[in-house]
């Protein structure tokens, strides 16, 4: 490749808001109900039905706008976007084109070459479509409208990103902001956060943008990174061969690590937007904005700073603890009970993350209670159980959220403090392992480890290793 190319990326991110009801009707937004059980005439587009806007949607949109440094459009409206598709019962989607609720914002990301601001062109409110299921037995598709009318915000960035790393830094930052606000759980895998990548390439130094494509179906950070790499290469190859990039929507197939053109939607680009006549304008007063601003919860950056100051924990720990709102919540709640921030941090960063990886679960799915983690920490601190027993007990807390005090009691896992019994056991161990004893006496100090282990085994793990060590040294 003789020429140097630059990749230009902008993102459109759809986020499902965490409201209890849909955007224009009082149907539940709950995930996983039987098909069409959360539907009504409004969200199935029946003639004569009238949409009424959910106030919480506006509040969440404003909250996200404020947290991403946007201007709030104080007079805003909805528009109709017209297209035909079976998942869209009205034959239009209610969205915002002319006066989106938030405009001209941006967030700062960390890059290897320092801080960089990624601009946000706009955030608008809209409704989600239904879900199409392709029937396995018949040549037909089935429509479930439970998701139809679930509120979304679409966050449109400026074309400010230049690499997959910058894209992921931006998405991750945005995800954390929205999670901390409680506006959405932002799960890429489940589709409550959907990232569409607009990408073009141009010769380095060029001021003009190249022709861009839009990539859909990116369900993980890995898929985003791979798709960016593949699409960049595909476009550069076309240009190198003297061909043109066609402006189109492409669908990423993560298993095949390739994308293909979604030609079926090519003829649907004329959406003939017009003002939505069924919904009156929204007027957002200064007071309303200020009220929402006052109620904004502590965001990650602030938490990060506070953790270091208030709890005196290292920067590294604070970053990991705040990398998910759920983990930060558990950290704070547990620390509030036991007042041992560093110990809580160790359990979360060590065993919790290890088990999460092992079980393949996300932070949001953690189900153990701060009370039980705090009790476990206290048991260790009191010297009632040793570390290896604590790890075993934690695994059960992690999976079943049991009360460790009761559990330790019932299973008899407490450290045996009976020194007589311990001495007796150690004497047995010394008797049974003359070789190790000899080694130790002969100067191989490491041999004591084996003897401690044997004693621990006989005590079924319920002894304090430092005590065994001490007695062993005395006896040898």
């Amino acid at each position: 490749m003789s020429k140097q190319y630059e990749t230009v990326i902008g993102l459109e991110i759809h986020v499902e808001l965490a409201t209890k009801t849909k955007i224009f009707c009082s149907c539940s937004t709950e995930f996983g109900g039987k098909p069409n059980t959360h539907t009504c005439p409004v969200c199935t587009g029946m003639p004569g039905s009238l949409p009424v806007l959910n106030k919480q949607v506006v509040e969440y949109a404003i909250a996200v706008g404020l947290a991403t440094n946007c201007e709030i459009t104080q007079y805003c409206k909805f528009d109709r976007k017209n297209y035909f598709y079976p998942d869209n019962p009205q034959n239009y989607q209610i969205s915002q084109l002319y006066l989106p609720i938030c405009r001209n914002g941006g967030i700062e990301i960390d890059t290897p070459s320092g801080k960089k601001t990624i601009g946000i062109r706009e955030i608008h409110m809209e409704e989600d479509a239904g879900k199409l299921i392709h029937d396995e037995w018949e040549e037909c598709s089935l429509v479930d409208f439970n998701r139809s009318g679930v509120p979304l915000i679409e966050i449109v960035s400026k074309p400010d990103m230049r690499s997959a790393e910058e894209v992921i830094a931006y998405v991750d930052k945005l995800r954390l902001i929205i999670q901390y606000l409680g506006a959405s759980d932002c799960k890429l895998q489940e589709g409550s956060m959907r990232v569409d990548v607009n990408l073009s390439v141009r010769e380095l130094g060029s001021k003009e943008f190249g022709t861009r494509t839009e990539m859909k179906n990116l369900n993980s950070y890995k898929a985003i990174a791979r798709a960016i790499e593949a699409e960049k290469n595909r476009q550069i190859e076309l240009l190198e061969e003297g061909k043109e990039v066609i402006q189109e929507t492409r669908r990423w197939d993560d298993n095949k690590e390739t994308s293909y053109s979604m030609r079926s939607k090519e003829d649907a680009h004329d959406y003939r937007y017009f003002p939505e006549p069924d919904l009156v304008p929204i007027v957002i007063s200064d007071e309303w904005i200020e009220n929402i601003r006052k109620r904004q919860p502590e965001l990650r950056e602030e938490k990060l700073k506070r953790y270091k100051e208030q709890f005196n924990i290292p920067d590294y720990d604070a970053k990991i603890l705040t990398s998910s709102k759920k983990i930060a919540d558990i950290f704070e709640a547990t620390t509030a009970i036991c007042n041992k921030p560093k110990k809580v941090s160790n359990w979360l960063m060590g065993e919790t993350m290890r088990l999460m990886k092992e079980e393949g679960i996300e932070a949001e799915e953690l189900s153990f209670s701060p009370e039980n983690l705090a009790k476990l920490i206290e048991l260790v601190e009191e010297g009632a159980i040793n570390n290896s027993v604590a790890k075993e007990v934690f695994e059960i807390i992690f999976k079943e959220d049991i009360d460790p005090k009761k559990y330790v009691e019932e299973k008899g896992l407490k450290i045996v403090k009976d020194e007589g019994l311990l001495i007796k056991t150690i004497k047995e161990v010394i008797e049974e392992n003359p070789k190790s004893v000899e080694d130790y006496r002969g100067g191989k100090k490491k041999a004591i480890g084996f003897l401690v282990g044997q004693t621990m085994k006989k005590m079924k793990g319920k002894a304090d290793p430092s005590m065994i060590n001490k007695i062993l040294k005395e006896l040898l």
Binding site: K20, S26, T37, N82, D135, V143, F145, P277, L279, P281
Partner: protein, 97 residues
Amino acid sequence: MSQVISDELMEYIANLAKLELSEKEKEQAKKDMERMLSYIDKLNELDTEGIEPLSHIFSVNNVFREDVVTNGDDSENILSNAPERKDEAFKVPKTVE
């Protein structure tokens, strides 16, 4: 002044609206649209300099609902509107992605 709707434009609009029109219907629709456009031309004679576009004729703003679930499972009623139904879903011709 009357505007002329070309055959191509007529075809395009019908396609967007997913309508299949006969030659006779196309001619009629062209005439109807031309009449509508000339009416818009009439409106364009007015001086609207400095007047904000109006999308609603009522001076009503901020009609909201509280975020409370009040709709239950009405799927049988809803599905009774389906032209075709399979199990608990609306049945439609197979869509390809």
